[in-house]
Symmetry: C2
Subunit: 386 residues, 2 copies
């Protein structure tokens, strides 16, 4: 048989010695946890039993390295494992494949944290606006930002636009679609965006604020980006995406698209099992903070502690930390806690997050009376009283 001409690259020549590392939390007694750490090194790379891996650069460089191993609480250990940068290239999908591909199916392994060299982080734009850019866009330099969701599903574009008008009139910074509102026959995307953009602009003309409308562009892969571009053309101020539904790389695609160039908010729909099992998946900060930021989210939605979901205060603080820690030269993003928030929770949130968060308040704006603008105004005032 004849083979095509060989590539000039040998493995050794391809590898430049740079590695990224991932800390994993491993459940079990020490001997089992050590065995799990070794298993990860092989499972996530060569997927071969150790004795079958050829000696040389594959065994030396492609197989993961255990860089550190230490206790991390009761019956738990932390293994820091490094991988060659060339195994993942500039591909976020392949990055997650190496970080947590097959081992996602092996219980007891949880991704805690990433350490990424410049050669990886520089491949990502990250948040196009970030905290400072979003504040500047909204003309809010100091106080926590406010965001609400147009709902319930089933309302027409006209009805949602009337809501949007009231919320913007009350000074809500970001008026977004509820994440379940898509391109349904009873609420077509194009008509909704057109009406809501007009409504928010009309309110801004009265108030002098710079509120923005943020449509949900979570959709089929072959429509997502065109919905986003159309939203931009129609004057949307930002975009909402559920990366666990679309694939996280959809967020990066939007972030990289200079024809769009809008702030992006990531919503956690469908991705819950990645964090809710305490012994598998990823730590809250790694997922909602680091990963969403790497993919380009300017803001990352998650359920706040004490709402109708089950995150703890510590897990939420971990997310907020990760939105702001050093990640190459990527901009910090906004944590956007929500899920059953009410005006009475604001003081406590200020205590945990300081002023750098986006309060996501939905139904809580409908419960203070029928005047949505007045309800919104009270919340914005509370946020401003820092």
């Amino acid at each position: 048989m004849e083979f095509a001409q060989d590539s000039d690259n040998t493995l050794s020549a391809s590898l430049h010695g740079e590695r990224f590392s991932v800390s994993y939390l491993l459940r079990g007694p020490e001997d089992e946890a050590r065995a799990m750490a070794t298993d990860i090194c092989f499972e996530q790379t060569v997927e071969f039993p150790g004795d079958l891996v050829p000696v040389g650069p594959i065994r030396e460089d492609i197989v993961g390295h255990i860089e550190a191993f230490e206790p991390a609480g009761s019956n738990r250990f932390r293994a820091t494992i490094s991988y060659a940068v060339e195994t993942v290239q500039e591909d976020l999908v392949q990055f997650l494949n190496v970080v947590y591909g097959n081992i996602s199916i092996k219980p007891g392994i949880r991704v805690e944290h990433f350490e990424l060299p410049e050669s990886i982080t520089s491949k990502y734009r990250g948040p196009r606006f970030g905290r400072a850019g979003l504040r500047s866009l909204l003309g809010q330099a100091e106080r926590p930002l406010s965001c609400t969701a147009l709902k319930p599903m089933g309302l027409s574009p006209r009805e949602l636009a009337e809501q949007a008008y009231q919320f913007a009139l009350g000074g809500i910074d970001i008026v977004k679609d509820d994440h379940g509102i898509a391109d349904q026959v009873f609420c077509p995307f194009e008509e909704r965006v057109e009406r809501c953009v007009q409504a928010v602009a009309a309110a801004n003309a009265k108030t002098g604020f710079r509120s923005i409308y943020m449509p949900n562009v979570t959709a089929r892969m072959d429509r997502m980006q065109s919905l986003a571009r159309r939203a931009k053309e129609l004057g949307a101020g930002a975009l909402l995406l559920c990366p666990a539904l679309t694939g996280i790389d959809a967020l990066r695609v939007l972030a990289d698209d200079d024809d769009i160039g809008l702030p992006l908010m990531a919503h956690p729909s469908f991705g819950g099992t990645l964090v809710t099992s305490k012994e598998s998946g990823m730590e809250h900060g790694a997922l909602y903070g680091t990963l969403m930021r790497l993919a380009g989210a300017d803001a990352s939605v998650y359920p706040n502690f004490g709402g109708r979901f089950s995150f703890t205060r510590e897990e939420c603080a971990d997310i907020a930390r990760a939105t702001d820690e050093r990640l190459g030269s990527l901009r910090p993003s906004f944590p956007a806690p929500g899920g059953g928030m009410t005006p009475s929770r604001i003081a406590e949130m200020l205590g945990v997050y300081g002023r750098n968060f986006i309060l996501l308040i939905g139904a809580g704006l409908h419960t203070g009376g029928v005047d949505l603008a007045a309800n919104a105004r009270r919340v914005v005032e509370l946020l401003g009283a820092v």
Copy 2:
């Protein structure tokens, strides 16, 4: 303010009364499980407290309906909840958003099964080849099919092609990339596909078999489809994708692409937490069977019981059932159990799966001696001895 002209559609006129239903397994005593079922109806649709939902069609039709509620084992209940078809339209992403969006973050809720009307299933092509088509393509009418993975990561295209040649020479039906092999600098996609296609063709010319090479096209969203089309041009016989990494809709995009038109195999990388928590996520059959089939997988890879992962025999049988149960007029797909399989497991697998499965055997073909073709031949003979 001026609003754009209103749409002609009212909600009532938009809804046609057709619903799809999802059975959920709920953890807890009965009163808590009943409350969870009610909560799902609201959380997954209007995301509004019940008292805020307007009377009329939103409350009647958009909010989920509890169709049935019954015990499902110790401290567990099954709630069957229906949703209006119009909430999800023909969008797989939005379907998952409604089925398991926000509630993925609420522990104790597990998707068990889908009941989909023709108005939904008819929107999906499903497996383009299915069991019969894949058997016909491979010229294997009777016995279980065989599949192996080229590995380890780090080998060059030439080295992987030499493996591919040996495996095809031994009669392995599907020679696929290991799922970690991407478009790395040490193993460029284009060169690899070219070489492996040639190698398998050369082996086929000797054996008379119709083995195929199946490259991995899991990649950045903006490259995935072009890699797949290029693979087709270069003569690849099928494609491998990891839908939990790319977003499940990427699979549907490939399945719908008539310029590609190749069999598709889904790999479970990164999606493990959706099944491994017994009290959240999805049942194995719903995820690896029904959903992958809906998205267009001709074969669905998962870890077989008794391998190096933790699935039980019953969970695996559930997957096999779901690949073949009625799902509109969609073709049945192949279960492709793997993960630490060896020739000695084949008899047991035949007992559980019958002849309609794809044996995925990787490292197990490297352990019988240095002659890979001979190792492969032994496995194929065992499969043929049904």
